[in-house]
């Protein structure tokens, strides 16, 4: 069974460590906040200028001056800080954010990522994604392993215009947890009930399959 969006988020969340400052992109990455493992604390950075993002507000606490990078109304935790966009991206570009989770259209064995532009379609923009992938040391990409038509999104070479070059090392898809090393995908874990064969078949780039590929547990 391929992972649900929630399970992808849950698997990613296991990579969190106590004391991490974390930036979560829009979509599946946002869900990671719901699965922070017990006993650890992380602090969420929102690139529009908020460190220490809290949950959505209750209806009576909504404040138009308090939004996240997805333009949703949010709250701030005690000990949060607010700063300008220049300061926010100084943090990101300067490598101060420990952990970043982002969606993508494609990744490849060189660690390239394409996530913002499909030629021929209207391009809305990269927002902060290019800064995030260039600045973070520790990025996990979340996406489906292949399109609905079965076309792999883990490629030898991204076909779409890039968001960043050589910056991705880890990918969690609905089928597998994959690391990018030495120009290859390394299959680390598989979704419950998904065979190695299925994963290999849906991975277009070269993939290394270790002797044991543990099944994820939820």
């Amino acid at each position: 069974m391929s992972l649900s969006r929630e399970q992808i988020a849950q698997r990613v969340a296991r990579e969190l460590k106590d004391g991490y400052y974390v930036n979560l992109g829009i979509g599946i990455p946002t869900l990671v906040a719901n699965y922070i493992p017990p006993g650890i604390e992380v602090m969420l950075q929102s690139e529009n200028g908020l460190l220490g993002m809290g949950p959505f507000p209750t209806a009576d606490k909504i404040d138009a001056d308090m939004i996240n990078a997805g333009k949703q109304t949010v709250t701030a935790i005690k000990g949060a800080s607010i700063f300008s966009s220049a300061e926010s991206f100084a943090m990101i570009r300067g490598g101060h954010v420990h952990f970043t989770v982002l969606g993508a259209f494609e990744v490849d064995v060189e660690g390239n990522i394409a996530s913002w532009m499909i030629p021929g379609k209207l391009v809305k923009g990269m927002g902060g994604a290019m800064d995030l992938v260039a600045g973070a040391h520790n990025i996990i990409v979340t996406m489906t392993h292949a399109s609905k038509d079965g076309e792999s999104k883990l490629l030898t070479r991204c076909s779409l215009p890039l968001t960043g070059a050589g910056c991705i090392k880890k990918v969690v898809t609905d089928l597998a947890y994959v690391e990018i090393r030495e120009g290859k995908f390394w299959l680390l874990e598989r979704a419950p009930g998904v065979s190695v064969d299925t994963i290999v078949k849906l991975t277009a780039g070269p993939i290394v399959v270790p002797e044991v590929v543990p099944e994820m547990c939820f």
């Binding site: 949703q72 300008s84 966009s85 209207l122 809305k124 927002g127 290019m130 800064d131």
Partner: protein, 232 residues
């Protein structure tokens, strides 16, 4: 004698000197922290052929989006656009030009503009369409691209409170691009919710020192919310 009193009483005064073809830097992220009254004044003035550096371009009927209705914008320099149909239509028809710029690079380009730094290197965008045609240079084994700064004829800023000297503080995430915008305009206009006397704002916690600010106007704000999201 004016001294350092930057307060103007009408929007006409606030944007006096804004003419066709000028470049504007506008604060705001989405619809949060945008100078609503100043944007409305541009619509009223009918100024055309504007180049606007702003992270976004509002939505249909609100924020910078209202300047699309009469085709007042020639070009946007933004990181994310197209939340509005009108924008898409004008873009596809070629009436509107967009220079998509990564959000952090945009913030830094505006900061650099205000700080007298003509250009800087960043890894953001290297190897992507954003880096095409830009100089690449290696520092400590990593590749970076050269990005040039942005300045504007006008900077339009939304503050929370300002004193009459033009010292400004922002509230919560309505800060966003506003502090950098404030530094990068030949004429910087700040629209605020409250004007106070010098000395009322804590000098250790001024976000934008008055030296950057030319005009201050008391505005009133709708503060429309783009994505109202609540928890139960």
């Amino acid at each position: 004698m004016a001294g350092f009193n930057k307060v103007v009483n009408t929007y006409d005064e606030a944007l006096a000197g804004l003419t066709d073809g000028m470049t504007i830097i506008a604060g705001g992220f989405g619809l949060c922290g945008i100078p609503e009254g100043l944007i409305a004044q541009i619509k009223k003035m009918g100024t055309k052929q504007l180049t606007i550096a702003s992270n976004n371009c509002g939505v249909d009927g609100f924020g910078l989006g209202i300047l699309l209705e009469d085709r007042q914008i020639k070009k946007m320099i933004s990181s994310y656009v197209g939340e509005n149909e009108l924008f898409e239509r004008q873009l596809l028809s070629g009436e509107l030009e967009v220079e998509l710029t990564p959000q952090g690079t945009l913030a830094e380009k505006i900061r650099a503009g205000g700080a007298g730094i003509p250009a800087f290197y960043t890894a953001t965008g290297y190897g992507t369409p954003v880096g095409e045609g830009k100089e690449v240079r290696v520092f400590n084994g990593r590749s970076y691209i050269l990005e040039e700064s942005i300045t504007g004829d006008f900077a339009l800023v939304k503050g929370w409170k300002a004193d009459t000297y033009g010292n400004v503080i922002y509230r919560h995430t309505a800060m966003n691009f506003n502090p950098m915008a404030a530094t990068a305009g030949k004429i910087t206009v700040v629209e605020v919710e409250e004007i106070v006397q010098p000395g009322e704002l804590d000098m250790d916690h001024i976000h934008t020192p008055g030296i950057y600010v030319d005009r201050v106007i008391l505005g009133s704000f709708e503060k429309r919310i783009e994505r109202r999201t609540v928890s139960q």
